[in-house]
């Protein structure tokens, strides 16, 4: 538990309204969007929640956590899928909602952002300046940039523009041992020393905290155009995706949806009529107007050649927005099919996508579970969802997930394309990294966070836990 002395000091650092200690407030910081973890989904309450207003307060808190040895659980908007923002043993949830200032530096084509800024706001403010912040996680309307950096979030435009890491130029950060560092630079390129930005991006709050970030922006593309292509079978759609890539048509987004996932959001897709297709692709292109139009027609003929029975091109802002809104709603909307899902985000080399779709389906069949697949076909990153029917216990979930991860790795892929490891996948991390990989990560953690206070119980497997003796006060 956090000692009363430490709590008192926290209150002094944060000022009135900055520290939450009542049961109602704590309950609201006990969850994120993680659908399932083999370690259990039960609510673990934090001891307290801090709502810092500036970087100095954050640094003081990290010092205090070292002095009194309590866990810090960083939290952006709590939209993560692997439990990164959930307390596992109590401690202090450090929520960045009040650190939400940003400015667009249009002469530098960069943005300076605090960690609590909501991602869609960065996109909108950039657009207002004729600029473009490409990373677009499906939760962009709710998630924050701090969480995006900590998880190295991917999203819908990764096939052309890459992931969050690719847009972080520099960071102001505080490490687990309370050292404040500047990582990277405000410039488009910098090779001054080790790439600390890459180390921190995707570290899931286990090494340090982002206090401020400089993001790279691009000029806003002149036009965008979206194609919806409907197929009879998932196989057809999954083979059309790599064909579009190899034809060098440079899609901004190339999304795959199978029958179950389409069903979940069908009410938002007027184009479908009453027939639910076996699968569909959503393809977006951007660029100069004439060029976009030409390429989208090429994409359409590839889809038609490979079995699409219906296609539609949308270039109006409104129609496109509706399509992408439906696409972004899939993950939560799958709850309509089953109250419980094993939701994994494996990725494979893009040419192997169809094999992954087939294999994932077979694993479901073998284990008696419906398998709903959708995702970033252009990245080879598939969201595989095994649906556990209402009333049934998710027995064997751990085995099903393991089989899927083994399949992904056998195809040359990874166990997580973009959700991260958190608590949900840490028992599987070794499958991909091997023991040596885990050991080196633990050494890095030891160097930057010697007391192990930063987001304990996440990323590295249980035998690497740093605060095994810590117990929350009410459960003593």
């Amino acid at each position: 538990m956090i000692e009363p002395n430490a709590l008192k000091k926290l209150g002094e650092i944060l000022g009135p309204g900055g520290l939450i200690k009542d049961a109602v407030g704590l309950t609201c910081y006990s969850y994120d969007a993680m659908p399932y973890s083999p370690e259990g989904n039960q609510r673990v309450m934090p001891d307290a929640v801090a709502l810092p207003r500036d970087a100095d307060q954050v640094c003081e808190i990290v010092s205090l956590a070292n002095e009194f040895r309590f866990p810090i659980v960083p939290r952006g908007a709590g939209t993560g899928m692997t439990g990164g923002a959930r307390p596992t043993m109590g401690g202090l949830v450090l929520a960045f909602s009040r650190m939400n200032n940003m400015e667009i530096l249009d002469k530098d084509l960069t943005a300076r952002v605090q960690p609590g800024v909501i991602t869609s706001r960065i996109q909108q403010e950039a657009e207002r300046a004729g600029l473009f912040y490409p990373p677009d996680p499906a939760s962009s309307e709710a998630c924050t940039i701090g969480g995006n950096i900590a998880e190295n979030a991917g999203g819908l435009r990764a096939v052309k523009y890459g992931v969050t890491r690719d847009y972080v130029l520099g960071l102001d950060a505080v490490l687990g041992d309370a050292t404040r560092i500047k990582a990277g630079a405000k410039t488009v390129k910098s090779v001054a020393g080790l790439d600390m930005v890459s180390l921190l991006a995707g570290s899931e709050g286990t090494l340090g905290l982002v206090l401020e970030a400089w993001l790279k922006l691009l000029p806003l593309p002149e036009s965008r155009c979206t194609l919806l292509a409907l197929f009879e079978t998932a196989d057809q759609a999954a083979s059309a995706a790599p064909a579009i890539l190899t034809a060098r048509l440079d899609p901004t987004a190339l999304e795959f949806m199978d029958r179950y996932t389409i069903e979940c959001v069908a009410d938002q897709l007027d184009e479908l009529g009453t027939n639910i297709p076996g699968a569909m692709l959503l393809v977006e292109l951007d660029g100069g107007i004439g060029d976009t139009k030409r390429r989208i027609r090429d994409v359409r003929s590839i889809c038609t050649d490979l079995g699409a029975y219906n296609t539609r091109i949308s270039d109006s802002e409104e129609a496109r927005e509706q399509l992408w809104k439906a696409r972004k709603a899939i993950s939560p909307a799958l709850g309509k099919l089953a109250p419980f899902k094993i939701d994994e985000d494996v990725a494979v080399p893009r040419s192997r996508l169809a094999e992954l779709v087939r294999g994932a389906g077979e694993i479901g069949l073998k284990n008696g579970l419906k398998c709903a697949c959708y995702g970033h076909a252009g990245d080879g990153n598939l969201h595989v969802n095994y649906l556990v029917p209402a009333g049934e216990k998710p027995a064997g979930a751990e085995k099903v997930a393991r089989e899927l991860f083994e399949l992904a790795i056998s195809l040359g892929g990874t166990i997580s394309g973009e959700h991260g490891i958190g608590t949900a996948k840490r028992m599987y991390l070794e499958l991909e990294t091997g023991r040596a990989g885990l050991d080196i990560m633990a050494s890095v953690k030891q160097a930057l966070d010697p007391k192990g206070i930063m987001n304990p119980g996440k990323l590295l497997p249980k035998d690497y836990d740093t605060m095994p003796g810590y117990v929350r006060k009410n459960t003593e």
Binding site: D22, T27, C28, Y31, G78, T79, A95, A142, T274
Partner: protein
């Protein structure tokens, strides 16, 4: 399609917290509701977000959280706009779940807000800092305004600019038969109505803006209706429901279902979108779950309820302006879409569609934004409400419009105050008044 929202799934009217908490089962905690919540936008606290509040209901339902003041306070941090329910990709009825939870959670608290409001109004000291309000309230309090009317509570918002109270009420100024004193119907000019419309006036048109009630009747008559005043109807009951007082809400519902001759009317028009939401959405849910024996009636009434813009969106005839405005064509007008219309009734198009036909003023279309009033929310949380509302006011007036039309009592009262704070020349009027002032083109 398989996934249209089903109103019968509304937990409103359920009496056990564990049953109500079941409607949170489908919540995947994705946070999309938070991104559209006006209260979360202002406060930034997770316990103010719909997702947070749903998780609180879930925890209470599982017995992990006891019914404390803090819990009650958190659950009441809801303006009731319904943006959360509309946005939820998983069809969780967030707003309705909170509304239902309020009825049962904090133990028995019959009419807590009623008591606060009544207490405020009777305790001069408490509101003496809001001079003028107390003065204007007292005669009203003492006068003909029944104390179960939702309006009473809205009046208790301290410090807000408030419309001058009418000397009369709608029942008094509605034309009557000289012999028997019964209210007469307003008829279209050609004398042959194509349908009968009943006006459910609600508190606001009855007591506060009765002249606008007559405007509403004239506009409906001009659209070809024979228009009756449903003069024996009372408060719709929504304020009581929002205050967590199911019993009072049911009482209001039972009374209204009793006095309205539903079969006689082809449409029942409320000037207020919140009344419409209560009649159309909450009555059937309340009636079906509380064993109210006239559930069928609630459904039949619900099917006929509309607000003015919905009626006019389908009636395409021209409606002439009543008197020429000065400097024709120089006025600009915006339309404030009530959340209860856009979200609860799911209609965000009728209002703008009708406004596009406004003849002698330039219509400035805006994106809908919550005004922050939310019935009693503004009374309980004036500061948060004001912050939400001033954003909406800035959007509306940012178009250059000096007049804003709306059709909801809460929005009307809130904008009456907030538009004036932004711009001393700006004013809010009822949609019917806007049509009489500027005229409506036919299509």
């Amino acid at each position: 399609m398989t996934t249209k929202r089903d109103k019968s799934a509304s937990p409103v009217g359920l009496t056990s917290i564990s049953r109500i908490a079941e409607s949170t089962d489908a919540c995947r905690r994705c946070g999309l509701c938070s991104s559209v919540c006006p209260v979360f936008d202002v406060l930034g606290l997770e316990c103010a977000s719909p997702r947070g509040k749903l998780q609180l209901v879930a925890a209470a339902g599982q017995g992990d959280l006891s019914c404390t003041k803090e819990l009650e306070k958190a659950l009441c941090l809801c303006v009731g706009c319904g943006a959360c329910s509309e946005r939820c990709p998983n069809l969780v009825m967030a707003k309705e779940t909170l509304l239902a939870a309020k009825q049962v959670l904090p133990g028995k608290r019959p009419g807590r807000v009623f008591r606060i409001a009544a207490g405020l109004m009777s305790r001069e000291k408490t509101i003496s800092h809001a001079a003028g309000i107390a003065k204007s309230l007292r005669p009203l309090w003492a006068s003909s305004l029944p104390d179960d009317q939702g309006l009473v509570m809205r009046l208790a918002k301290p410090g807000a600019r408030f419309p001058k109270l009418a000397e009369t009420n709608l029942k008094k100024i509605w034309p009557r038969n000289e012999k028997n004193g019964k209210p007469v119907s307003l008829m279209p000019r050609d004398g042959s109505p194509n349908a009968i419309a009943g006006i459910f006036p609600g508190c606001i048109h009855t007591y506060l803006t009765p002249k606008a009630g007559i405007s509403l009747a004239r506009v409906l008559a001009a659209a070809g209706f024979r228009v009756d005043l449903l003069e024996n109807t009372g408060c719709c009951g929504l304020p009581a429901l929002s205050a967590g007082n199911t019993k009072q809400a049911q009482k209001a519902m039972a009374h209204n279902l009793d006095v309205i001759d539903i079969e006689k009317y082809s449409v029942i028009v409320t000037p207020c979108a919140s009344c419409a939401a209560m009649l159309k959405v909450h009555y059937p849910a309340l009636a079906s779950k509380t064993g109210y024996n006239q559930a069928g009636i609630a459904e039949r009434l619900a099917a006929k309820v509309q607000v003015l813009s919905q009626v006019l969106a389908k009636h395409t005839g021209k409606i002439a302006q009543r008197e020429k405005v000065t400097k024709e064509g120089t006025e600009t007008i915006a339309y404030h879409t009530p959340c209860h219309l856009a979200k609860a009734l799911g209609d965000s198009t009728s209002g703008p569609k009708v406004m596009q036909r406004i003849e002698n003023a330039g219509y400035r279309q805006t994106k809908p934004a919550c005004c922050g009033q939310g019935g009693l929310f503004g009374v309980e949380n004036p500061e948060i409400s004001g912050k939400i509302g001033s954003k909406a006011a800035k959007i509306l007036l940012g178009t250059g419009a000096s007049t804003v039309a709306t059709e909801c009592s809460g929005c009307y009262l809130q904008l009456y105050d907030l538009l004036w704070r932004e711009n001393r020349k700006a004013e809010v009027i009822w949609l019917a008044e806007a049509i009489e002032r500027f005229g409506l083109a036919g299509t």
